[in-house]
């Protein structure tokens, strides 16, 4: 097999090449479980509990970026959506829309990443689909994943549960994914530049399962960053949020690039973090458990929920002043996930 083989339109035509694509690329990686024998749908055991069900599509450019690629991003994105809804991720579907001309080498690397990420998250790719579109009608590869998780009854999450004095926690440094993709896309060529944080957060959620009653809210700060998540929260309740600039966890490379480009890191996506709002009594315990996990090593308390500044997110700046944290406007960073 030539090293520079590329996807042809016929790989999506349903004939011999399609079969070859599935048998050489998909079955060896995913054919062991419910996909065995390539049925049209997966038959799954019913656990007799509440389920969490979500879907997400991934169109990131470039397909591969420092710290990850569209494949592991597609697994983490859906796993994380399940986790922050209080779901324990179990099954994924995987749909690939491939543009004619994509090198098999790239496809292979991305599928390897999907397999590795799914294994690391303990989820099974249970069903899937592959389509090929003509050259110029796609951007290399689009990926859709849907996921099913088992609802964890310990969590009763909701914006209406948030109270004055609650703590706003984040599981690690902010904005790494968005700044890594932007740097890769613009060919800025930083040495030791930002690296995407793409990664699963479900273990962080599982780690605080027994404290679920004191956890009010969880969300992964993807598009629009932490500023968007927090503004959505204060938009739905009679409270405000006060953040402290000196407590915002930022990787040095991410902070430097954001500074250089004049971008507020609070506006930039993470893909492996969770923002969690909890009663202040349990905040130290949650931070301690998170920091004991590799994906939570950089966990921090960003600030707290206030009765003042109702409907607003306010930042206490390094200079000691206070300013509004608005949502990002316009197309700051299109197609980052």
């Amino acid at each position: 097999m030539s090293a520079d083989r590329v996807i042809q339109l016929a790989h999506g035509g349903g004939g011999r090449l399609t079969r070859e694509l599935i048998e050489t690329e998909i079955v060896p990686r995913f054919g062991g479980g419910p996909l065995r024998g390539l049925p049209d749908g997966a038959t799954l055991p019913s656990p007799g509990e509440l389920l969490v069900f979500t879907t997400d599509s991934f169109v990131v450019q470039p397909l591969e970026f420092p710290g990850g690629n569209i494949g592991d991003l597609a697994v983490h994105g859906t796993v994380n959506d399940l986790a922050v809804c209080g779901g324990e991720p179990k099954w994924l579907s995987l749909a690939l829309i491939i543009e004619e001309g994509l090198p098999f080498a790239v496809l292979g690397r991305i599928l390897d990443s999907i397999r590795a990420a799914a294994d690391a998250c303990g989820v099974t790719v249970a069903t899937g689909d592959t389509k090929v579109v003509a050259r110029g009608q796609g951007d290399g590869l689009y990926v859709n994943t849907a996921g099913i998780g088992l609802a964890m009854p310990e969590f009763a999450l909701g914006v209406n549960k948030i109270r004055e004095g609650d703590c706003v926690l984040v599981s690690g440094t902010l904005a790494d994914h968005g700044m890594a993709v932007l740097s890769a896309r613009q060919n800025i060529g930083f040495i030791n530049g930002p690296r995407s944080d793409t990664g699963p957060v479900h273990r962080l959620v599982l780690a605080v399962r027994d404290l679920g009653g004191s956890v009010r809210f969880m969300r992964d700060p993807t598009r629009g960053g932490a500023a968007t998540v927090l503004n959505e929260i204060v938009g739905e309740c009679e409270l405000g949020v006060l953040l402290r600039e000196r407590d915002l966890p930022l990787a040095p490379a991410t902070a430097a690039v954001a500074e250089m480009l004049g971008i507020d890191p609070l506006h930039v996506a993470s893909e492996g973090r969770v923002i969690l709002i909890c009663a202040s009594e349990v905040a130290p315990a949650i931070l301690k458990r998170w920091r004991a996990l590799p994906e939570g090593a950089g966990a921090a308390c960003l600030g707290s929920v206030t009765r003042d500044n109702k409907g607003r997110v306010v930042l206490e700046t390094l200079a000691g002043g206070r300013r509004l944290v608005d949502v990002p406007r316009g197309e700051l960073l299109p197609r980052i996930c």
């Binding site: 390094l318 000691g320 509004l324 406007r329």
Partner: protein, 374 residues
């Protein structure tokens, strides 16, 4: 980042805030109130971003000035750019100009209707566009103050060197010192001191403000854009005001030299000559702009395509002109945050990332009502 972090040190900031508070008390004891204009749009944004305004005493007021190049661009300039786009030219521009309203339309609307408008992140990208499209004309929207002017005129130099003939500039270059002079001669505006721009001063040098400080008896203090720079600058201004001094003080000496950047000044001098310029909201200020010298008129889009820039019409109700002059706080404009938002800007001060209205919208605190009108 370590270099920058030193200029954001919270403990040092607190010390400056205390010093400024004491100066504010001394002023209040004398029954005095000081109106400081921060001339530059980047200062306006930094003041918002670091929450500086609420840290200052009641007797000290920061007023935003005309130092946002997009904001002071007349609608007639956009009309000329739209006319050029209508003649199949590729319009190359910095992103902020895309949504600035002309008399009837803007470049974003033009682009969505098929106009070829490209956003550039550096002037060099315009050269690449011209080389990549040898059969098309590329017009770069050359807008900016002294800081931007120097690199943009290098575009002409580069085009001459490479023999690129299909590139031209639609110029609306503006100079800071003549604008300061115009503001000081307007009896309706009260300015007691200038917080002078950081990067403009790096080009023109600290001495450029001396005639203004001497003639109008206003302290001119140059400061950088970091929070400590700004607090240090305000502190210097208040010291002068309390001592009844009016001199130029360079509090950004790590970047700004007394005579500025001689290489940049020589380039500007070689390619450009002073012209009267129209400032949105202010009107014509004599010798406040720069245009290409006649020997380089082949690069002057207005002449090359006979599309002169004529004064345009502003949107009804928009008071950006008064905001630019420091006569009106954005929050006191009837359109602010209602009809005019960053998503649907009516005037340029809400469009530009350095615009005063955009800064107030983005960073303004709800209790910041004090001094809505001067």
């Amino acid at each position: 980042m370590k270099y920058i972090d030193d200029f954001r040190n919270p403990e040092v900031a607190a010390q400056f805030v205390r010093k400024i508070a004491a100066q504010g008390q001394a002023l209040a004891a004398q029954g005095r109130r000081v109106h400081i204009m921060e001339v530059c749009g980047s200062h306006t944004m930094a003041i918002g971003r670091y929450g500086i305004r609420p840290l200052l005493p009641e007797s000290v007021e920061l007023i935003s000035g005309p130092g946002c190049p997009v904001c002071v661009t007349d609608p007639g300039y956009i009309d000329a750019a739209l006319a050029l786009a209508g003649r199949e030219a590729i319009i190359a521009t910095f992103g902020d100009m895309i949504r600035v309203p002309g008399s009837d339309s803007d470049l974003a609307a033009c682009r969505s209707q098929g106009g070829d408008v490209r956003v550039c992140y550096s002037p060099g990208a315009a050269i690449d566009l011209a080389k990549g499209h040898p059969d098309r004309e590329v017009v770069f929207l050359a807008v900016g103050f002294e800081t931007t002017i120097a690199p943009v005129v290098c575009l002409v130099e580069e085009a001459l060197r490479l023999g690129v003939k299909n590139l031209s500039l639609l110029t609306a270059f503006k100079l800071v010192p003549p604008a300061l002079r115009a503001l000081l001669t307007d009896p309706a505006i009260r300015i007691d001191a200038f917080l002078c721009p950081a990067h403009v001063s790096a080009i023109i040098g600290a001495r450029a403000y001396e005639p203004i400080a001497d003639e109008f008896r206003v302290p001119c203090v140059i400061s950088g854009f970091e929070p400590l720079d700004i607090l240090y600058g305000v502190n210097g201004i208040l010291a002068q005001v309390l001592n009844r001094q009016a001199k130029v003080e360079n509090r950004y000496a790590r970047v700004v030299r007394p005579d500025g950047n001689p290489k940049a000044k020589a380039r500007i001098e070689r390619y450009l000559e002073p012209v009267d310029a129209v400032w949105r909201g202010i009107g014509v200020i004599p010798a406040s702009g720069l245009a290409l010298r006649s020997e380089f008129s082949g690069f002057d889009a207005a002449k090359k395509f006979a599309v002169p820039v004529r004064p345009g019409r502003q949107q009804a109700g928009c008071r950006c002109g008064d905001v630019i002059k420091g006569k009106l706080r954005p929050t006191a404009c009837a359109l602010f945050a209602k009809a005019c938002t960053p998503d649907h800007p009516v005037g340029p001060c809400m469009v530009s990332s350095e615009g005063t209205c955009a800064a107030y919208f983005k960073y303004g605190m709800p209790d910041e009502k004090r001094g809505d009108k001067q």
